[in-house]
Symmetry: C2
Subunit: 346 residues, 2 copies
DNA sequence: ATGAAAGCGCTAACAT
DNA sequence: ATGTTAGCGCTTTCAT
């Protein structure tokens, strides 16, 4: 078992100084052709690679990005990570992943664990608990220490950092208008509580689309789910809540759901009640998941382009890390949504 | 913007030496109560945290684990990562994620990028391309340099490292026997090419279950999918191949698929052909995905306990890192599968 | 009880 | 052309 070789060992073997070796390896013209070749050959033979940690200490930068997300077993987030990793890798950066698990404490802990020199900057999406508590001191402290943050999807507006969001408002409006165009007269909304900004914005998009149509807004048609605990039995509760929605609105002929699971369960309920999809009732979900494509019928969705979000977030962060210039001026990038038509709409 | 404070700065402010500060912070009895309190108060005030990189360089260990997986947008892998992160975090370790994207070159690149001091050890699952080429030099080199590896799911037997696998053979046997118990007389198999070890083992499980039954093996009932490229149009090809399977076996009354997507598409084909599930034909998938639970009908599956695999892998690696003892002796842990009954079987 | 010095692996300014 | 030195931030052994 041959341990990794260091400059020091090479220097000793070849009977030169450490700095000579260092320079020779970096092709410095200060070094004679002779020793340069000798050193390089030896280094190659022993498969010398500079130690990243030593470089990080010296350069005061680690070339790694810390990513904190609420949950990894989730199509949207894993796709964002894929985008981040892809772009980071092409720029020579590594990616450390921390999971907050929707918990405030774990989010803080994870950030503290990484902010002590392990990474150059953060890309993160805020946990539900943090959003609910509205306690953002850990973000501010990190930023104040000179470590840049890029937030995506679940963001806070008045924070000194770049943001990448999907146009939730526009996406919902688009979806609801689509349902209206397809002849829906009574469109239900299945959404989350307002403290999740994306839920709030999607709800607003729904409302404005309905109102712009001159139609009156019917509160009965709006179902707000409290998903602060995401346990298993939650799904049964969810289903009965959706049952109730159908029961209260017998003439409902369209449903817009803020995620694909809600939409799928709603379709299931509709089918149970003997409704034909899309003939009797049409469905659209807001999502970037796998369920939609393989559901029966397949679900029309508003795509969030999660991977593009990840790439954009990584590119913003790396730009900021490598160009000290644009301090104090932060970008808010909006990723456009696309409506993907499948078989749950006419 | 106050940058992170260092021992040096504290020492200067308090007019003591760096080593005094260091000792004071670690509660050394060498230091007088007086200065100890003074230093600790000052450190707390300025929120001092030791620099991880410096510690890593000093201790020659980074307390971070490198994870290389073929794909992250995949329920199984993201669940494994969740398990790894969970356990790693409780032990004070961070997790760097690298994606091979099923490519040999990216796998090698990623490993080289991390093996130069950034991490203490690897947890990985081998890319399809690597399995096909059977080129494992990068694993051997890493191990030879004294960096431990733990492989999971897609593993190579004769490699000096710990392994965590699911009992693919046993799981398939269990599934096929279950179908037989439920009255199936003609059971189809939808699997992958043999170079993916999990596909091969699951196929063997199917075969032995059929043969143990005294039934004769019918090659017509076995469909091997070449999924070496996983593009979009692949799904249409997949569907037509499965159509063919049904066409060739009109009396098929059970299907075992080595993943949930194959099972779902098979169910779709069956439905199209007017077959009732589970009355006319029953289905089981091998998986740990979300599709199964929300499919119609929901799919009976063999669960792999992905998160448990991740936790076990992390625990094996950390044990090896922290106890130098058990060199040369490697474990192969087998995670039991569970059959989760849903509505695609009687 | 405190401090000086060496060392982890590397780079770079500054001698020679 | 080569070597010495200092320093990145920290711990620890060895003086004082």
């Amino acid at each position: 078992m041959k341990r990794k070789i260091t400059l020091k060992q090479i220097a000793k073997e070849l009977d030169v100084s450490i700095s000579t070796v260092s320079k020779a390896l970096r092709n410095s013209i200060e070094i004679s052709e002779d020793t340069r070749e000798k050193v390089q050959a030896f280094a190659k033979l022993y498969n010398y690679r500079p130690n990243n940690i030593a470089l990080s200490l010296k350069n005061r930068k680690t070339k790694t990005i810390g990513v904190i997300i609420p949950e990894i077993v989730h199509h949207f987030f894993s796709k964002v990570i894929k985008g981040i990793e892809l772009l980071a890798n092409t720029k020579g950066y590594n990616v450390i992943v921390g999971l907050s698990n929707e918990s405030f404490d774990k989010e803080v802990l994870n950030m503290e664990m990484l902010a002590n020199g392990s990474i150059d900057g953060f890309i993160l999406s805020i946990s539900k608990e943090t959003l609910m508590k509205q306690d953002y001191h850990h973000f501010n402290e990190t930023i104040n220490q000179g470590m840049p943050i890029v937030m995506f999807d679940r963001v806070i507006n008045d924070l000194n950092c770049d943001k990448v969001i999907v146009d939730d408002y526009e996406g919902s409006t688009k979806a609801v208008n689509f349902l209206i165009d397809k002849g829906c007269k009574s469109i239900g909304l299945i959404t989350t509580m307002d403290y999740v900004s994306v839920g709030r914005l999607r709800t607003q998009g729904y409302i404005s689309a309905i109102e712009n149509q001159g139609a009156e807004l019917n509160a009965e048609l709006i179902l707000k789910i409290d998903d602060s605990n995401t346990s298993e039995e939650q799904i049964d509760i969810l289903e009965s809540q959706i049952e109730q929605l159908f029961e209260n609105n017998k003439n409902m002929d369209g449903v817009f759901a803020v995620n694909e699971l809600y939409a799928l369960i709603a379709m299931k309920v509709a089918r149970k009640r003997g409704l034909k999809i899309p003939e009797d009732i049409q469905f659209i979900g807001f999502t970037d998941g796998v369920l939609s494509k393989h559901a029966t019928p397949s679900l029309t969705t508003v795509s969030q382009h999660a991977q593009a979000m990840g790439e954009k977030a990584a590119s913003l962060l790396i730009n900021r890390l490598e160009n000290e210039e644009d301090e104090e001026h932060f970008e808010k990038v909006i990723i456009e949504t696309d409506l993907i038509e499948r078989n749950s709409t006419k």
